[in-house]
């Protein structure tokens, strides 16, 4: 039963959705504070290359080196996000153009490619990678086993992240402040909240999560580094935040939905199904589905703009409000 097409697809949907989930949660944090960061793809690619580099250069037990690698990936993502934060928060630059610049700077053909080639990481097998666990010995249980109990540690970490982000935003004082900053920075400022500091902190946190998301590719899904290995996942993550109406729990659902579409070509290929259909049709599904879902969401909810922070994308200048 666990070899059936559906169980295999769902189990891999979780695996392939995990980088999307991390990145989308990060973007959600940044956007909730009012900062739109279109550089997710770039931050993910840098996280992927730096995480892989850490694993290759550390001479430690694989558990330790993997933990350090995730930390390095998070730092790389946060450092990249710092550029964006400085440009849009301190220098009041256009958030859209700055985010694009971040992707061009860090993405394929940019810094991630430069570092990967300069550190000779291409085409090398990973020294360590995240393996599927066997939680409570239930990994072989029918249906739920491979989907829920047999995933790798990053998947479980992402679940903890979803719960923490959800609780943080709704149940804590700083979370309330973030939402205030994203909805009405002027009111937040009048309340004595430091708008700039909140925006910096959440943009950096978003970058760190995007970096971890990138590391999911190079340390778990395909444990190696190739140029541009995220193939647009960062952009899908940005779209995910919109589908999820800026809510962490819905991010999880959306991430696995798109994870399933990312894995579908491999699933069909390995089973020899639908071989007369060009594989490009299935490869393009995640991108086409992103457009389709985005259209559905924007037609149904455009009037109410459910969930979008009111000050998203706008710089806050105290003197000009």
């Amino acid at each position: 039963m666990n070899d059936s097409f559906l169980v295999d697809l769902l189990a891999h949907a979780v695996l392939y959705g995990t980088p999307l989930l991390f990145a989308a949660l990060g973007e959600l944090l940044a956007e909730r504070s009012g900062v739109l960061n279109l550089g997710v793809e770039g931050m993910m690619l840098l996280g992927a290359v730096m995480g892989f580099w850490a694993v290759q250069s550390l001479d430690a037990p694989s558990g330790v080196s993997l933990a350090v690698a995730v930390g390095v990936a998070a730092l790389a993502g946060a450092a990249t996000a710092l550029i964006h934060a400085f440009l849009v928060i301190t220098l009041r630059a256009s958030q859209i153009v700055s985010g694009l610049a971040l992707t061009i700077f860090a993405g394929a053909l940019g810094l991630s490619s430069y570092l990967g080639n300069d550190l000779n990481l291409a085409g090398v097998p990973a020294d360590a990678s995240f393996q599927n666990l066997d939680l409570f010995g239930l990994a072989d249980a029918p249906v739920l086993g491979p989907i829920v109990f047999g995933q790798n540690a990053l998947v479980y970490a992402s679940w903890i992240c979803v719960v923490s982000v959800a609780l943080y935003l709704v149940r804590t004082r700083p979370g309330l402040n973030v939402r205030a900053v994203g909805e009405s920075p002027a009111a937040a400022d009048a309340m004595g909240i430091n708008v700039g500091a909140y925006r910096y902190a959440h943009t950096l946190a978003g970058g760190a999560l995007a970096g971890i998301g990138g590391a999911c590719f190079s340390l778990a899904i395909t444990p190696q580094w190739v140029d541009g290995l995220t193939r647009g996942a960062g952009w899908i993550a940005i779209a995910l935040v919109i589908f999820a109406f800026w809510r962490p729990d819905l991010c999880l659902v959306g991430a696995y939905f798109f994870g399933a579409f990312s894995y579908l070509p491999f699933a069909l290929e390995s089973r020899g199904v639908a071989q007369d259909v060009p594989s490009e049709i299935f490869d393009s599904l995640p991108y086409v589905m992103t457009i389709v879902v985005l259209v559905i969401v924007s037609t149904g909810f455009a009037k109410r703009r459910l969930g979008a922070p009111a000050a998203l994308g706008l710089p806050y200048v105290r003197e000009e409000r």
Binding site: I104, G110, Y114, I242, E280, V288, I291, V295
Partner: protein, 377 residues
């Protein structure tokens, strides 16, 4: 230190800030080079030589600059109206596919007239680019779907279409006749009559100027005229500045959004046609995708501050950068360096916008005599 909004932007700043940001970004890049164990002095010297002074360097700089000028114009045309068409990359591919398709077809019909080939390739390339851009345009106009994400997603789809046409199928575009074509997946070559003519310039030992660059210069002037001297352009500026004002004034928003997206896509598609007619002469997925012409065009347009005329010199400069990056690529000049430089230049240009829009005063709130710009209001 205090930051105040400028009421008037001095003209010299509009040139000085982008120029200064290029200089500043070279300094920042030097830091990265030193940090990764490279010598910035010799890297920059070799970069400059490979781009502009070496034998034949200018000719190949034009080869790289021509597609970038097209995609830069495409981005500038859309971004000016705050319509963020990131899909220049895909529209460029579609233009190339259509141009090669029509050239092959006309060749099969026995056509030998080069002007006819050029005209047909331009028209089909532009139409295909416009059609591809119309998808995010229509979605944006009628469903308010975020055009940034939709146009970007279509880039990946266009890339897969290229792979399908040449590598994964025996399409009309693929060479199945020649020996090389049967050994590797290759695009069919278009007839030599369809190769776009070049002009020989008698400077620096002879520089070949592709026809595409000439078309791009003409197009830049046309777009500049359209945006700054016509009613259509004026309405676009108003829509870009404030959609609400535009609606109150009775401007047709949806129509303009679709029109501008199609215009932008047509320019990018024309770039694809020029890439095929001028240089590639066959549909080559790796060649088309190798330089990210579409994304580079966005950097060029931003640095040109979305001014079509300024896209020309900036595009030429970036053509030199890409050319040098490809010529020098190797162990001591890793790929990716060019993208890093582009990103840093764009960051500096964005940061420099602050200096254009705001005045930075040093000193604690001491007000001197009010400057002319402020009293003028």
């Amino acid at each position: 230190m205090r930051i105040e909004r400028r009421l008037e932007q001095p003209r010299w700043l509009l040139v000085a800030v982008p120029a200064g940001s290029i200089v500043f970004s070279f300094a920042l890049m030097a830091v990265i080079l030193v940090a990764t164990g490279h010598d910035p002095g010799s890297t920059y010297r070799r970069l400059f030589e490979a781009a502009f002074t070496a034998d034949g360097a200018l000719t190949s700089t034009f080869v790289f600059a021509t597609p970038i000028v097209f995609t830069g114009l495409a981005a500038a045309a859309a971004f000016r109206m705050q319509l963020f068409n990131i899909g220049g990359e895909g529209q460029f591919y579609l233009g190339a596919i259509a141009a090669v398709g029509i050239a092959l077809w006309l060749g099969d019909q026995g056509v030998t007239s080069t002007p006819l080939f050029v005209l047909a390739m331009c028209l089909c390339g532009a139409a295909a680019g416009a059609a591809w851009a119309a998808i995010p345009g229509v979605l944006r106009a009628f469903f308010k779907t975020n055009e940034i994400i939709t146009s970007l997603m279509l880039n990946y789809v266009a890339g897969l279409l290229l792979t399908y046409l040449i590598i994964d199928s025996f399409s009309y575009w693929r060479d199945t006749e020649t020996f090389e074509g049967r050994t590797f997946p290759l695009g069919k070559s278009i007839p030599e009559d369809a190769w776009w003519p070049t002009a020989m310039l008698d400077i620096a030992g002879g520089v070949l100027l592709p026809l595409g660059f000439g078309i791009a210069v003409g197009l830049a002037v046309v777009i500049w005229f359209l945006y700054s001297r016509t009613r259509f352009g004026f309405e676009l500026q108003v829509i870009g500045d404030s959609q609400r004002t535009a609606r109150y004034a009775g401007m047709r928003l949806r129509r303009k959004i679709v029109a501008v997206m199609c215009l932008s896509g047509a320019i990018a598609g024309l770039g694809g046609a020029s890439f095929e007619g001028d240089f590639a002469h066959q549909l080559d997925p790796t060649g088309l995708q190798a330089s990210y012409y579409g994304y580079t065009g966005i950097v060029v347009a931003a640095l040109a501050r979305y001014n079509p005329l300024a896209v020309l010199p900036v595009g030429f400069l970036f053509g030199g950068l890409l050319n040098a990056g490809f010529t020098l690529q190797g162990a001591d000049f890793p790929s990716g360096l060019v993208g890093v430089m582009q990103g840093i230049i764009l960051f500096c240009a964005l940061g420099g916008e602050l200096l254009i829009r705001y005045r930075v005063r040093i000193g604690r709130g001491v007000r001197g005599p009010a400057p002319a710009a402020e009293t003028a209001s």
